[in-house]
Symmetry: C2
Subunit: 405 residues, 2 copies
């Protein structure tokens, strides 16, 4: 073992033993010590207590109580109840977040909702051109269906592109590909100065860093729950509608769950007040209650502490990559500055290395990240269960793979 | 015991022992013999093998394989794979059904999709005025967002209301309140004769009776899976797009899952061919795979046999109600004619009886149905697990409750 390796491993051990969040790893089913799981930015690990909870939901609540569970087991109110659990993680006060549907469907609600709050003369919806593709596709549809046009703009160019024609902007808080963190307070303020509304996609930031929706005056936000919130595969997404917009929020998907008296079953639609207006149809209870249980791991955790560890982890990983990977083989496309970094590190493979092959070899050696075509290796750092020794090992194995040893 | 009771109980026993579907009850968790479960038209009972399957999905597929399960456990292709399992139950050939999202969201896709296939001069969407309310609310939104207007029409008046301005009609196959079965072949043909498209909601018919989507030339259909298909609370709905419309189907929710190359992650949207075009965002895997497992109970079952038993059950229940309930206390609002009856019986309480109180007392005595304001008691008959003795007992207890004994 080289001196550099020895030094980095000793530092990792020291950092792990000083880490106040280290004990949270025990809450997750991560018993395969031969694996370093760095894909929590795609699918969070399983919280250990979720299987028992869902067994009870299925066997007793569905199997025995059956229809009674809609009331007695609290199924009916799950979307708003779980919304309240997520709210503090994204800096939202009570009554503004509701869970249900996919992120794409919520982007549709949010962008149409925002567009309808703008005068018709504001006929453009600016869309982060680097966003996860579904946001762009859906924003295009929302624009078309509200008589607007969607205009893709690189996030850095957004302030200059805002103007009297802008109805709303849709921005991803953290770029899924590069891990770049966008300036939510600044872009929201710029949108407001231009008289436009700001819609944020929090898929890659919620649960990894403070968002501060209320503090920064965000208008609408959406996010998924299966990444840093560990809700399980395809767990339902959420919609945030700032309280000041709720009374005028005009959902394009006014399903019966958003009616003020859903069991009145009246032919006329009268929307409910509050976050519930963002509901649509019958909630997918199994997926939803797995998410609810998964959120228990956040008890007593501050998002600020999570952020501090996240930055320390990605700093340390980048340092280890620098030490272990021969110069010129990879380049980080994740910003070095903390203010611009999410909770993942993305490395571009240079000199023609096939990213897919590199990642497959990494996975075969127990380091699980993923890749995005054509040339980006992604490593997600979930502070609740990833440690510094994991970061060191991932970088070391990457170095071994790239030199072909 | 009166002679009438004795006779009906003997007939029930004979009918049950001659019932070729009776053995299917064993497939469900219905061990509380003190309960007659007649609310399968709202939430189907739990198939006995589902908990074990979902325990494996959570513990092994999510907990151990994690991100690899999107490929290795077949998560990614679940929406279309499960669509193929539902297809034969609703008379659809391969490649036309996809599972995902709620019924409300699928109504939106279907009605917008149908409207966009019509010339702009066809500016009306006729909506079954007796449909489950969410269909009306969503159709109104779909109409508004495609430059049309939604026109509520009683199903019986639909043929006369169809005309050169009709883009599409949205009809519920079975009325959720009365249990009336509408004439799918006739109304579909009438719509086509008028140059309009037919969109059917199968929530209360799929799994209870033959639908024949292909045979009758239906254009679009949607349905839920948690009633007669026993998929679990809020299990995902499905969308049927007839093959001849798929190439032109222009979804209002073009999420990345419907892209021809979703992992290409290109900024431009190019829709996939086939049923997959109806997908939107990441599927809710836990709810979806519970549904997939639940569909196993259909192996070797013909929907024609289910229909035959369903009609025999509701006939027998009506006969028992006639024998046990004092004349004038309830009136069936479910049509007597087989061609107009779904798989539920709805009884209107007369002489001011409070329907909610009656149902609460029934449930307290082990007969689980539900009620719909202001005055309808609903009893759903799921032929896979409800027997003739159940029907006799339900009617007998109803008689006891209504005479206050």
């Amino acid at each position: 073992m080289s001196d550099a390796t020895n030094d980095l491993q000793q530092r990792a051990a020291a950092l792990d033993s000083a880490d106040p969040l280290a004990k949270h790893r025990e809450l997750f089913a991560l018993d395969d010590v031969e694996t370093v799981y760095l894909d929590g930015n795609s699918l969070g690990a399983l919280p250990r207590h979720v299987p028992e909870r869902i067994a009870d939901v299925i066997t007793r609540e569905w199997g025995e109580l059956r229809i009674r569970s809609w009331d007695e087991s609290g199924w009916w109110t799950a979307p708003e109840r779980i919304g309240e659990r997520i709210a503090p993680l994204i800096g939202a006060g009570a009554g503004q977040v509701v869970v249900g549907d996919s992120t794409s469907v919520n982007v549709f609600k949010a962008v149409v909702g925002a567009a309808r709050l703008a005068p018709e003369s504001r006929d453009e919806i600016l869309v982060d051109a680097t966003t996860f593709p579904t946001d762009g596709y859906i924003a295009e549809s929302a624009a078309r269906m509200t008589g607007r046009r969607a205009v893709p703009v690189a996030p850095g160019d957004l302030p200059a592109a805002l103007g009297p024609r802008t109805a709303a902007v849709l921005v991803n808080h953290v770029d899924y590909r590069t891990g770049r963190l966008h300036d939510l307070p600044g872009l929201t303020a710029a949108a407001h100065e231009a008289g436009a509304l700001a819609v944020w996609d929090l898929c890659h930031s919620a649960g990894a860093l403070p968002v501060g929706l209320d503090a920064h005056g965000v208008d609408f936000a959406v996010g998924c729950t299966y990444k840093y919130l560990n809700g399980g595969p395809g767990s339902p997404a959420y919609l945030y509608v700032a309280e000041r917009h709720q009374a005028a929020f005009d959902s394009p998907l006014p399903g019966w769950n958003s009616h003020t008296d859903p069991f009145g079953m009246t032919p006329g639609y009268t929307p409910a007040d509050g976050a519930v207006r963002g509901r649509v149809g019958t909630p997918d209870i199994l997926s939803m209650l797995a998410l609810e249980a998964a959120l228990d791991v956040w008890e007593g955790v501050s998002v600020e502490d999570v952020r501090e560890k996240s930055l320390a982890l990605t700093d340390f990983f980048l340092e280890c990559v620098d030490a272990y990977v021969p110069r010129g083989r990879v380049t980080s496309v994740t910003p070095a500055g903390h203010a611009e970094r999410g909770s993942q590190v993305s490395l571009r493979c240079e000199d023609g290395a096939e990213t897919g092959d590199v990642m497959r070899e990494l996975i075969a050696r127990g380091v699980v990240g993923d890749f995005r075509r054509p040339d980006v290796l992604r490593f997600g750092f979930t502070p609740l269960y990833v440690g510094f020794a994991d970061a060191e090992r991932a970088a070391r194995v990457l170095g071994e793979v790239l030199v072909g040893s």
